[in-house]
Amino acid sequence: MLAGDIEQYAELVHRYRDRYARFAARMLGSVDEAEDAVQDAFIRAFEQLRQCRDPDNFAGWFFLILRNRCLAERRRVARAGPGPEAVVVPAAEQADGPLVQEERRRALQQALLELTPEQREVFVLKHVEDLSYEEIAGRLGASIPSLKMRMHRAYDRLRERLKDVL
């Protein structure tokens, strides 16, 4: 496979195309952007296939390429300036009906995009992908204390941003 066999690579694309799509969508804020990111990451992975030192862990290696693509995109967006402010409808006085929950979900997704990419990454891996700190540390090569520090700063920023809907 590492010799670049195209047909075998097509199988890998089919197998892993959706595996990290949710991660990319939550990191970037939309499925469309996630699709672009996954596509770019697969093409880049093919070009760098020789650098995959552990062919049995293609998924983990591909995840790092996709993750770097997502971080680069968020840095690009951050450099371009802040996007439009999301309208947060105060819901603290209302019952938790479906509409309130949907509003809160949208507000959280918008607030996630306002975190630093590194904070958002840890939040998404832990609370969307349901990974433990140990698993996240293994994937990213980061220490657990530094991951917790990022996460706890993310909690505070989210609470500040969502104080009207929590």
Partner: protein
């Protein structure tokens, strides 16, 4: 109303504590934390079926590009097989020994102090002039772009921030993060394309006494 979570509530959010572990005065805060996690969108995402075709079309174009084929020929390791007949082994070894002697005589003696093990890492000082900034950090390939691990501190003159980081020998890409939101390249360092349309600063760390050097 405070807008930061109590440390115990953060541990509750991390799944390390249950609601019953928290004192009653933190229960309201913990319920707000529960509402936060309840709003997380965990719905699976399925990408359009056309993605496979687009990826493979691009892959096939790249695989068939002449430049890539030439690069592969140059970059791929070549396997060279040598078959020796026993009777030629003696003269071949003698010739090799003569060659080694000739080369050794033509080289000046090397002082012993030059044979030092290369250090595994070198201290590199990052400096940025950022007047008006409240906090500055450096993130790069050496810390997985984690902007929390290498903060810069005000250094001497107003607006100058600096830190020293131990970097392994090799080439590293990096950028400064100013006030947690603005990425700034190092004006004193060369830059490279990050592959996604942006440019990063780059530093090459060598094992020599000079430490880091520009490319």
């Amino acid at each position: 109303m405070t807008t930061v979570f109590h440390p115990l509530v953060k541990r509750f959010l991390d799944g390390e504590l249950n609601l019953a572990d928290l004192p009653p005065e933190l229960h309201a805060e913990a319920r707000a934390a529960e509402r936060l996690l309840g709003a997380v969108d965990r719905a699976p995402v399925t990408l359009p079926a056309a993605l496979d075709a687009r990826v493979m079309s691009a892959v096939r174009r790249r695989a068939s590009a002449p430049a890539r084929r030439w690069w592969q020929r140059l970059a791929e390791p070549w396997e060279i097989r040598v078959r020796l007949r026993p009777w030629i082994l003696g003269p071949a070894l003698a010739a090799a020994a003569v060659l080694v002697l000739i080369l050794a005589r033509s080289q000046p003696p090397v002082p012993a102090v030059a044979v030092a093990a290369a250090p595994e890492s070198v201290y590199v000082r990052f400096v940025l002039y950022a007047p008006g900034a409240h906090r500055v950090s450096v993130a790069g390939t050496f810390n997985q772009w984690d902007a929390t691990t290498a903060p810069l501190a005000p250094a001497g003159a107003a607006g100058v921030w600096a830190t020293t980081v131990a970097l392994p020998v090799g080439q590293h890409q990096y950028a400064f993060l100013v006030d947690g939101r603005r990425w700034v390249n190092d004006p004193a360092a060369p830059m490279v394309d990050d592959g996604f349309g942006r440019r990063n600063s780059v530093v090459a760390v060598t094992a020599g006494a000079a430490g880091a050097r520009a490319l």
